[in-house]
Amino acid sequence: MSNRKDTELEQEQAKSRRRIPDVAPLLGFLVLLTVFFTFTSPYFLDPDNFKNIFVALAVTGIICVPGTMLMIAGQVDLSVGSAAAVSGMILANVVNDYGITTGLLAVFAFGLVLGIVNGFFVTVVGVNSLITTLGTLATLYGIALLIGNGQTLMMKNFEWLGTAQPAGIPLPIFIFFFIAIIGIITLRRTRFGRSLYAIGSNPNAARVVGIRSNRILFASFILSGLSSALAGAILTSQLSAGDPNAARGLELEVITAIVLGGASLAGGRGTMWGTIIGLTTIGVLNNGLILLDVPTFWQRVAQGLMLILAVSFDATRERLASKRR
């Protein structure tokens, strides 16, 4: 039994750690951004503008849900952007010739296969997920270009998935919210979600305690593949065309949102809510820059800087935590 002073010390340390919730600084930053854009642009607070912000986020957001799960388990899927591009090319091709249902089936079949491939290499072969998915990212980008011979493919009669507005709210937003809620519940309340935290926190202990880590990671990669496919389908429907370059750099946005939201790169920590706030921050920043007529190239610059900021924050927090321990 530890003596009393030891315990007091521990409690003191624990208290100081508890004082700052992980997402508090980010939330503060988001509020600052909102205030800033409210004063600098008359259009910012317009409800239609908020609709724009979230439509722009929905595609990324859908991928962020399994992305957060993977990050919590200490894994990363970089292939999401290329996967969305390939999905779009498949969809445009198949819908034109065989109709919408077949098109969607083909897209989800592709997402499933991709998830199985990524999952196989990570869990069965044992390749680091960063490298595995970097490989699939490059391969799939090539495939996306091959399918359309480097060209954009027009798609007919399937705009509703990306542009319908039931009850005045765009369908992609509904889909994103629906998936995000499933994500929140899964992470907080299911065995699957809790196992992800355990695996990320200490993969060896997870194995020794009898968690079937490989199955869980495999399933997560499949979810990631399926969600990339869905995101690609929505994007293609919005554009009415399959564009091999439409989803370039999407993985960067996804990872930025997740890390901004407080998920630890080392695994074991993170929440769906955090990711949603991270995502919103990126959306507000992008939107505000457009409203202020900043050239779009600056969005890329801002996003890159945000990612560096987010990982620095993560690293600083880890270091502080280990110092206090």
Partner: protein, 493 residues
């Protein structure tokens, strides 16, 4: 004393307003070994970190080789020849043995590392330690005990005046421990002063000249090591007269839970036979590497079984994976808590409930309230000191962490529990607590417990029966009151 190397006087130290050292004095002469004893949290580590310049004392004076120092920082401490060897490894696992021995101080000419010179010097040091490790081996592929010796070798290559060893023997086999002690004898003859921190009282008389005991941040006893009796030391550490090593009440059951016959795994252990009955605690005693821990690993499915068979409640069971075994209501507590046991950044409640989520909700859901309640229940029953169910487990003391990990399997209602070195890194007071808890649980739930340990005191205090292993074979069985320290040691060596 004219040859006094170190003199710390009236050292006080506070962390965030809490004083952890209340005016401690410590002296160390040249060629002297001072054993520093105390429970976890008594202030030993803080005290030696002050000596290493790692921590600045709140008040008190530091004198090294007769010179009073206003301030001591890490760099200065190194200049003065003060070296520390920690329990945890501080090496570069990807580099070679030679590189590790000269880590950061590689022999060089200009910008080029002198590889052949380094290999030669490294070999000299290893010969001096009588260690048979190739200098070009990769450190990460060595056993933990061997890597520990590399750290000692590193200290030897530098001009060391004062050597602090913080529980260096925890991961060493008996042979390696003896080798370390003979090196310490050598260093003593060369006039190096050593502070030796340990949990193992039997090492004190072997290695130390003087013993100092810390309790709650104060020095409570300083005596000649030859005159210190075991009882005196224990009572000084605990602050009250310790109970004698009394054998526990034996459990008399005859319903077999786990039956092992002819069990073999390559050369790790061969032809092992035993039965553990319901409610019984059977100890497998032997040095590290004798096969005790390996048997538990194989039974749980972490190591392949190459021969023999295992029966659980009369049915043949072949463990394929840890997950299979856990589903069969078998529990396993690994020796390496940090690496294999706990989920460091997660809460105590989660760490405890991880094996019980299935019964804490339906359709794959987990009810957090049940998780919280389970923790409160076990925290009361096992006297786990924590701030509450949401506290991160890594902020608990070692003994409390271990209780959480034990409760993990109790809550999961396992029928067979495999424990490997269940009190490693746990202080003396909490040890007895843990023995009592394990015995209570075994008796009340009829759980069969198998303990692999290299600590004979643990066997005496915990087990109903003991098998002694040596080089992977069972060499003797002790039952009832014949489970004695002297017999265990005699049988294992």
């Amino acid at each position: 004393m004219s040859n006094e190397l170190v003199s710390l006087q009236g050292i006080h130290k506070s962390f965030s307003g809490v004083e952890v050292l209340h005016g401690v004095d410590l002296t160390l002469g040249a060629g002297e070994v001072l054993a520093l004893l105390g429970e976890n949290g008594a202030g030993k580590s803080t005290l030696v970190k002050i000596l290493a310049g790692d921590i600045e004392p709140t008040s008190g004076s530091i004198e090294i080789k007769g010179t009073k120092l206003a301030k001591l920082d890490v760099y200065q401490a190194r200049q003065l020849g003060i070296r520390m060897i920690f329990q945890e490894l501080n090496d570069a696992p990807a580099l070679t043995v030679a590189e590790n021995i000269f880590l950061g101080q590689w022999p060089h000419s200009g910008p080029f590392v002198g590889w052949s010179e380094m290999a030669k010097k490294a070999q000299e040091v290893l010969d001096r330690l009588e260690v048979d490790i190739p200098v070009d081996a990769i450190a990460g592929q060595l056993r933990v005990g061997e890597r520990q010796l590399l750290e000692i070798a590193r200290a030897l290559t530098q001009d060391t005046k004062v050597l602090v060893l913080d529980e260096p023997t925890a991961a060493l086999s008996n042979v390696e421990v003896e080798r370390l002690f003979s090196v310490m004898d050598q260093l003593r003859a060369e006039g190096v002063g050593m502070i030796y921190i340990t949990h193992r009282l039997d090492e004190v008389a072997r290695v130390a000249d003087r013993v100092q005991v810390l309790r709650d941040g104060s020095s409570v006893l300083t005596v000649d090591a030859k005159k210190a009796s075991r009882e005196d030391l224990v009572s000084a550490m605990l602050g009250h007269a310790s109970e004698k090593n009394v054998r526990p009440q034996l459990h008399d059951t005859s319903e077999p839970a786990l039956k092992v016959s002819g069990l073999t795994s390559f050369a790790e252990f061969t032809n092992v036979n035993f039965t553990v009955n319901k409610g019984e605690v059977l100890a497998l005693f032997g040095k590290i590497g004798s096969g005790t821990a390996e048997i538990c690993e194989s039974l749980f499915g972490l190591r392949p079984i190459t021969g023999g068979n295992v029966e659980i409640f009369g049915k043949v069971y072949k463990a394929k994976s840890a997950a299979d075994s856990a589903d069969q209501a078998i529990g396993y507590l690994p020796a390496d808590r940090q690496r294999l046991g706990s989920f460091p950044v997660r809460s105590v409640a989660e760490n405890l409930a991880v094996r019980s989520w299935q019964k804490m909700g339906r359709f794959g859901f987990v009810n957090r309230l049940l998780e919280h309640q389970a923790f409160s229940r076990w925290a009361d029953a096992l006297r786990i000191v924590s701030r509450g169910s949401t506290q991160t487990i890594s902020t608990l003391s070692g003994g409390n962490q271990q209780k959480v990990l034990l409760a993990r399997w109790f809550e999961a209602q396992v029928k067979i529990l495999l424990l490997v070195e269940p009190t490693r890194g746990v202080d003396v007071g909490a040890r007895r607590d843990i023995y009592e808890i394990i015995r209570e649980q075994a008796q009340s739930s009829g759980m069969a417990v198998l303990v692999a340990t290299s600590d004979y005191e643990e066997v005496v205090l915990l087990a109903d029966r003991a098998l002694v292993l040596s080089r992977g074979e069972v060499v003797s069985e002790l039952t009832g009151n014949s489970v004695e320290a002297s017999k265990l040691i005699a049988a294992s060596s």
